[in-house]
Every structure is written in C-alpha cells, then in structure tokens.
C-alpha cells in the first residue's frame, strides 16, 4: 500500500507492505536509524517516537497507521549544533552511556514533560516505566528530565 507520513516536518510517500512496522519504515525505508529496536515484546521503549506529538512505541504501530499523520524522531528534535533542551539536559547530566536507549528515552521524556511540565522525581520514574536503560541505572536520566523541566524543556 501507499502511505504518506510527515516525518520530522518533511512529507514522505512510499509503497510499503501491509505488515511493515513504523520503526522499519523509519529505519529501512527512510534511513532514519536513530530510532532503535531493543526487544520483541513492546517492553523496552528504544523505538519510542512521537506520533502527532504523543510518544508511541514504533515497533508496535504499523506504518499504515501513521498514514496522513506526523512523526517526530530523535533526528527531528534538534541538531548537534542546536540541541533541544531535553537533549542538552541529557548531555549535561550524563543521562546516557552506550546511547542505545537514548533516542527513545529522550522522546519519551519530551512527551512526559508535555503532559506534566512540573513532574516530581516519582512522576518521572513512573512516566519512564516503559523505557529500559541497561547502562545508567536511571539516576542521571531522572536528573536530566527534572533539570529540563526546571529549564522549561516542555516544548
């Protein structure tokens, strides 16, 4: 089938198999490899992107379901020269090590602050429950998200 998805502000149109998952559309068709796959049970959140502004696990959504809608991936959030406040906070507070969970974690955090601009530590921990990080022990991720909230990172 033919789908049209706005990805990071650009309109993309491609022919895809019905069973194509959104994450594979992003990675294999569009070459946006920032979004990762970490599991096969919708457990890890490495594949988290924003669909019409809300965080979803792109391994569990068909590309077809994104037809006519808009997707933001880590590549669309900010650039190395001009990082999004959440990206800056992750660097500042060492919220990443190997970086594999990071794109999903950052997107989930952005979405979290949009829903709750002034979260408590507990809110952040609960809000990121669907995102696994094996490296950081979450300590610095939580710190980064709280710092981003302080700096008005909910945009």
């Amino acid at each position: 089938m033919r789908i049209t998805v706005t990805v990071n502000g650009d309109e993309t149109t491609h022919e895809v198999e019905d069973r194509t998952l959104l994450v594979h559309y992003l990675r294999d068709v569009l070459g946006l490899t920032g979004t990762n796959v970490g599991c096969d049970t919708t457990s890890c959140g490495a594949c988290t992107v924003l669909l019409d502004g809300e965080s979803i696990k792109s391994c569990t959504v068909l590309a077809a379901q994104a037809d006519g809608r808009s997707v933001t991936t880590i590549e669309g959030l900010g650039s190395a020269e001009e990082m999004h406040p959440m990206q800056k906070a992750f660097q500042q507070h060492h919220g990443l090590q190997c970086g594999f969970c990071t794109p999903g974690m950052v997107m989930a955090s952005v979405s979290l602050l949009r829903e709750n601009p002034k979260p408590s530590e507990e809110d952040v921990r609960a809000g990121l429950e669907g995102n696994i990080c094996r490296c950081t022990g979450y300590h610095n991720i939580v710190k980064a998200v709280l710092a981003a909230a302080e700096d008005g990172g909910a945009k």
């Binding site: 096969d40 890890c44 190395a80 660097q91 970086g99 921990r125 990080c133 490296c135 022990g137 979450y138």
Partner: protein, 760 residues
C-alpha cells in the same frame, strides 16, 4: 588549572543525542550493498539428537538464497576453553560446533542458517526448515549434573570438567566458638545489553574478510575468527561500530558471528545479521550461575577465624569463559577481612543450558556475594550488628600491601574509613532505631539495612597491558588510537582529557580511533575494569612522548635550547620563556614533522600488578511482610577506585553498576524449567528493572590512589555491581530477620520472601 579530576561532560553525546549512534544494524556502508540477511534456525530442545533436516520447503520460500546446516559447515568446532586455574583438561568432544552437527545441547543452539534478500523473509523461512529431533535426557539441575546420571557429553564420561582448590578439613573450624554453614545460589542472569548481537560480513577480491561486529574487543575477535576460518594473519579486519552495551557478554566473537563470515564466503555475497531479543536471551552468553556452600567460624566476640567456600560453576553446554570464573571467585574469597584460615574449592560442570561467560564483575561479584552473606550470617549467629562484625575483621590500613591467604596482593585500602563514611551519611543509628520501632509496632512495611564492604580486583590481565598512539595533525587537531574499546564508558572524553592536559590541545579537537583492527592492530579491549588504568595510562604516556618530541622539534625550529621553551596549554603552543611572541603551535609542529613521518608516539603500558578498588554499600529496603514485596528505598556508597579523572564518568559507572547489582538481588533470573526450557527469554518475562523500581543513589567520594600506574587510578566499571548485589540482598533478609528468617536466595522475589517469612 588542569582539566584532570574535573567534571567534564561527554564529547560523545551530541551525535548520540541528535542522530543516534551508528550501531551495526545502522551501517549503510557501500561494501554492504546487496547484502543478504542471515537468520538462524535454533534448537527448541535442550538436548536431542538431530535425526534429519529437510531444507527443501525453506529453499522454495520467497527471497531465500541459501540454507546451510551443520553438514555444510566445514569449520572445525571451537575447542573447549582450558579450565583456568583448575586441574584437568576438558574432553575434546566438548568442542562447540558453529552450527550444531548431530546433537543439540541447549535451547537456542544454532542449527541452520537461512540467507534471504529481505529480513522479514528470513523469519518466514526458518519456520519451514524441518528438523527432526530425537530427545535425550536434559541435564539442568546442578545436582543432576554432578551425579552424572545423564551426561551432556557421553564420550567425556562425566559432566564435571574440572575440580580445583583444597578439600575440606574439619580442623579448619576446630577452635571456633561459633560456626555457620549455608548454601547460597548466585543465580544465572542475562547480560541483556540494550543492543542485541549484530554483525555484517563482506569478503574482498583479495580473499580478505571485513566483519563489522558489536564487540568489546576487536583484536581478540580478529584472532579468534582468523583461527576459526583457518586464515593467514592479515586476512581478517574487524570494525567495531558504536556498541550498545556489552557487560562482558560481547567479549570476542560468538559462533553466530563466525558462521556469518563463513557463510558470506560460501554464498559469495555480503551478509548482515541482527538477532531478535528472544534469540539474545537464549543464546548470548549468560553470567554468574554459581552455587556456593560457605562455612564461616569465629569467636562470640565477633572475630572471624576461618572461612571456606565451595563453588559449583554451571558452565552451560560448552566449557567457555566460565571455566575461568571460579579462579577469580576463589582468589577474592576472603574479601576485605583478615581471616587466619581461608580455604576454597571449585567444581565446574556442564549442563544443557546456554553457555556461561563473563558478566559485569565476572567471578568477583560471586566472591563478594558469598563472603558478605557469610558475614551477616555470622553476625546473626553471635548476635552482633553486621557493621560491628565487619569493623572487627577488616584488614587494617597499615597492613598494605597485603597478601591474602588466597594469594591476592592488595595494593592499598582504607576499608574502615569507607564504612564509617557510609554509616554516617546514611544515618545508620537512626535507621536502626526506625527499624526497631517498626518491628515493635508490628508494621506491615518492615525496614531492612544491608551492608556490603567489598574489595575487588581490576585489570586482572594487568600484564597484558594496553596499546595507544597519539598523533598530532597539521590543522592542530589530534587523534588517539587505543586498543581499549568503549561501548558507553566515555573513552573519547576521558582519554581526550589526558591528552588535553599534557599537550594543551582542547578536547573538541581530539578524535578517538578504536576497534578497527587495521587502524589499531594491537589491543585488549574493554572488560575487567581495565580501560583507564591500562588504556588511559598508555595514552597518557604516549602524550608525554609527543610532548617531548614536540618540544625538541620546537627548539630546533626556533633555534633555542629546549629548556628555554614553555608550553602554553591554553594556546596549544610552545614559546620562549618570557617571550610569548616567539613560538610555534602544535599544527605548525605537525606540519614541520611531516617529512619525518609525522608527530606521533606509541606506547604499550602494562602494570606490575592488578589494582584492588574497594568500598562500602548500604542498602535500605522496605519489605511488605504480607505480600513479600521488597523495595529498595535508598542506596548509599563509597566506591574508592583511586584517583578520579572525571567524576561525571565514574558516577555514571557506579550508578549503572549499582542498578545491575540490585537487579540481580531483587528481580533477575534466567530461569530454565526442569526440561531445560528457558522461561524468561524475552523482556516481558525477564525482569530488568525500570526507573520506577529503583531509587536515586547516594554516592560519597573517597580516593585512595594506587601507585601502580601514573594516573593513580583503579577500575570502576564493575565495582557498583560487586558492592550492591549483596548489600541489597542483605537488606531484604534483614527486613524480615526478626521473623526468624536467616537467608533468602536471589532474586528475592515476593514469592520467596513470603515463603521465607511463613517458614521462619
């Protein structure tokens, strides 16, 4: 002011945060154009004879180019690992084939390899490979393995691959007033890096193969692959892309990677392979998997006089790296304590489960878990506070260097200082009061305090050392080449700081090259908490040599005595003392040195001995005595790893380590049912903790430098795990100790805690 010791955020991060890393599955190299996808057919049986494989239906499936089985694969099986410090030799029949030949020995063992044009076609086609299995009795339980009723390798005649150490002698505990024995399970866990195993292979017309591999040590992988494929030196290039975590399980190259390179040659096309998470849980090496029988004895005043540990190491289906782990467990058996008599013994056995290898700490966390549980059991027996018993038995600061009965030579240590700092910061006395209050009130949520005072060995391969090269370019930038292999640790930042400190070339102008065996032919990789002390020291020394070369050249160019030159580290420029106008920059020096082969220096750095970081962890846990649910409330630590280069990085290592240790104590187990079917083979069933299940950690700092390297640094990568695992377990047991509970095995799941309370 020197940049060393300051908080520097990572240079690695902007790319990782805005574009994501380039992991093996992200590679879009031209050499991989037209690559086929490899998908493994894996055994659903723990132990079975393969009586037939029919690939015809799979070959008809859309997109299938080839299907290979063990019968096609002409590579010699990988010989079993020698069993380290233990006696005996593993039987030759224990060699591991790259694709199973006649018998499968664990669920997940690769049986066939399907090559398809598209990735999804492989998933469909493997369903069509018809394998006939004749089931054999599976050896799962350690006691069954030891009894030898059923054998993993009948030709070997026994499941026991080796026994080492000393036999028990009753006399060891003869003069002890109190003796406690216990059997402790250090359960099998999965490393579960967030990036699964992934590789790509492409052969050149020159008969040379390039393998892109998610690995912790490219050079080791190169040597292993060269050997397995029977290739001459120089015919294998390994390139390490970004690696999404390893934790010991990505050391070297796994059979699937080797078979990939072999199949790529056979089919004549480049190949890519990225496993699923389920495959990763089944067939990436597991960790720990030891059972301990401990005996501890001493006097009623808390003085420990004798300790014995008997280790049974589950190797899994083929003897690999786990054969070496018990040697480290025995070496570190007595921990931070001055115990007159310490004996140990280890038995290594094969079972029909996944192969066991290194996992964050690799043999040392097991030693710490055993002795720290033993200290608590002894404290309970003599009716003393666990902190007091520990204090009474510490090796004193003036005893260093200290050689343990097990033969380890500890370099430096300040054990009591670490304990005091933690107890004070935590408010230990108040916590005990609160615990007493809750106990007296019979509250549902009981409080537990768990201590672990640990010492560990880092850079156990100290004598192998590490290689580095530092090169300055004519644009004023520098490149560091290292045999160390980052996968999240932040080497670019750490090593870059060392070069900036020496040469005055700023971090943002420094590049790091690692993991490409053509560019860095020699290297030991990243494991065993070796990177900074070995790799960093090599970089530091190489930078020193570049500094001397630069100074000499600058003196020649300016025509002045070297002694009259000053390096302005702010400007990255040598100038005449007192005369900033006359000088030469690093870029100009590199340009001038071009004729003589550039401005660079190599260094190989090895330590004379390994280093022994130490610390104290205190876990505060809450246990619901009605449901058995435990929760880690606070975790306070000192992890003294010598001089700190960058607190940002060491704190990150500690956080991650603490979480992984707490995860083993509370949640994680790679569980096999009695028939050898893994029950926790995906992220829905295997309980990796989420942010909501852990607290923030309270880190205290303490630095007792080592003299064994120029940086004063010891390793920090594994300390968090080593310290936290028994602390958290001890806290859970302590929370319900007043209900008659003496011990609860890890993971301390609600069911186990509830059961312990009800049996208590």
């Amino acid at each position: 002011m020197s940049i060393l010791g300051t908080r520097v955020v990572r240079s690695e991060d902007p790319k990782l945060l805005t574009a994501g890393g380039t992991y093996a599955d992200d590679l879009r190299e031209p050499a991989l154009n037209g690559a086929l996808y490899a998908t493994y057919v894996r055994s659903p049986m723990a132990h079975a004879r393969i009586t037939g494989i029919d690939v015809s239906a799979a070959l008809e499936s859309p997109g299938v180019v080839a299907v290979y089985t063990g019968a096609d694969c002409d590579l010699d099986p990988a010989p079993p690992a020698p069993e380290g410090a233990l006696g005996g030799k593993p039987h030759p029949s224990m060699a591991r084939p790259f694709l199973a030949k006649d018998v499968v020995r664990f669920v997940g063992e690769p049986v066939a390899l399907v090559l398809t044009e598209k990735r999804a076609q492989g998933e469909d086609a493997i369903e069509l490979v018809a394998v006939d299995y004749d089931p054999l009795p599976a050896v799962i339980d350690l006691d069954d393995a030891l009894s030898g009723t059923n054998l993993v390798f009948p030709e070997a005649g026994s499941n026991v691959v080796g026994v080492g150490g000393a036999d028990a002698a009753d006399a060891q505990f003869a003069d002890c007033e109190a003796v406690v024995t216990a059997t402790l399970e250090n359960q099998r866990v999965a490393a579960a890096p967030l990036e699964v195993r992934s590789a790509a292979a492409a052969w050149g017309d020159d008969g040379r193969v390039t393998v892109w591999l998610s690995t912790q040590n490219a050079q080791g992988a190169r040597d292993a692959l060269q050997g397995a494929l029977g290739l001459d030196e120089g015919k294998v290039r390994i390139i390490t892309p970004d690696v999404g975590g390893g934790f010991g399980a990505k050391i070297g190259i796994d059979p699937e990677g080797t078979a990939l390179a072999w199949a790529s040659k056979r089919v004549g096309r480049p190949l890519r392979w990225t496993e699923s998470r389920t495959e990763n849980m089944l067939a990436m090496t597991h960790g720990r998997a030891q059972r301990h029988k401990i005996t501890i004895g001493g006097d009623r005043d808390g003085r420990v006089k004798a300790y014995r540990i008997e280790v049974v190491q589950d190797l899994g289906a083929y003897p690999g790296v786990a054969s070496f782990l018990p040697a480290l467990t025995m070496l570190m058996a007595s921990g931070v304590y001055d115990i007159a008599s310490v004996t140990s013994q280890a038995t290594i056995v094969v079972t029909n489960k996944m192969v066991v290898a290194a996992y964050r700490g690799a043999g040392r966390p097991e030693a710490t878990a055993a002795i720290e549980r033993a200290m608590d059991l002894f404290a309970a027996e003599v009716g003393m506070d666990p902190a007091d018993v520990r204090r009474k038995n510490f090796i004193k600061p003036d005893a260093f260097p200290y050689t343990t009965p097990g033969g380890a030579m500890y370099d430096t240590g300040e054990y009591e200082k670490a304990l005091d700092a933690v107890l004070e910061s935590a408010g230990y006395a108040q916590l005990r009061e609160e615990q007493a209050r809750r106990r007296a009130a019979g509250e549902t949520l009981q409080l537990g305090l768990g201590l672990s005072t640990y010492v560990e060995i880092t850079a156990p391969d100290f004598s192998v050392g590490e290689d580095a090269k530092v090169e300055v370019h004519d644009d004023g930038t520098a490149t560091i080449y290292t045999g160390s292999s980052p996968h999240g640790q932040g080497h670019l930042t750490a090593f870059g700081m060392l070069v900036q400190d020496k040469l005055g070339i700023p971090l943002e102008k420094i590049k790091l090259v690692h993991g490409d065996t053509d560019q860095v032919p020699k290297g030991g990789g990243t494991m065993g908490s070796r990177s900074l002390q070995l790799g960093g020291s090599a970089v530091y020394r190489a930078a020193e040599d570049v500094l001397e070369k630069g100074r000499k050249l600058a003196a020649e160019l300016i025509e002045i005595d070297e002694g009259d030159l000053v390096l302005d580290k702010e400007a990255g420029r040598f100038h005449v003392a007192g005369q900033t106008g006359t000088g030469v920059s690093w870029g100009e020096l590199a340009a001038a040195a071009r004729e003589q082969g550039g401005l660079a220096a190599d260094c190989h750095f090895a330590e004379d001995l390994p280093t022994f970081p130490f610390g104290t962890h205190l876990a505060v846990a809450e246990v619901d005595v009605e449901t058995g649910q435990s929760r880690l409330l606070r975790h306070i630590t000192v992890d003294d790893a010598g001089t700190i280069l960058n607190p940002v990085l060491t704190e990150g290592q500690r956080h991650g380590g603490i979480a992984q240790g707490a995860a083993q104590a509370l949640f994680e187990v790679m569980y096999y049912d009695p028939d050898g079917n893994p029950q926790t083979a995906n992220f829905a069933d295997y309980a990796i903790p989420a942010a909501s299940e852990l607290p923030s950690f309270e880190l205290l700092s303490q630095e007792t430098p080592t003299t064994l390297n120029p940086l004063g640094a010891k390793g920090i990568g594994e300390a968090g795990t080593i310290g936290s695992t028994p602390a958290v377990q001890n806290a859970v047991v302590d929370a319900v100790a007043h209900l008659g509970v003496r011990h609860i095995d890890m993971p301390t799941t609600p069911q186990r805690v509830w059961q312990a309370i009800n049996e208590g």
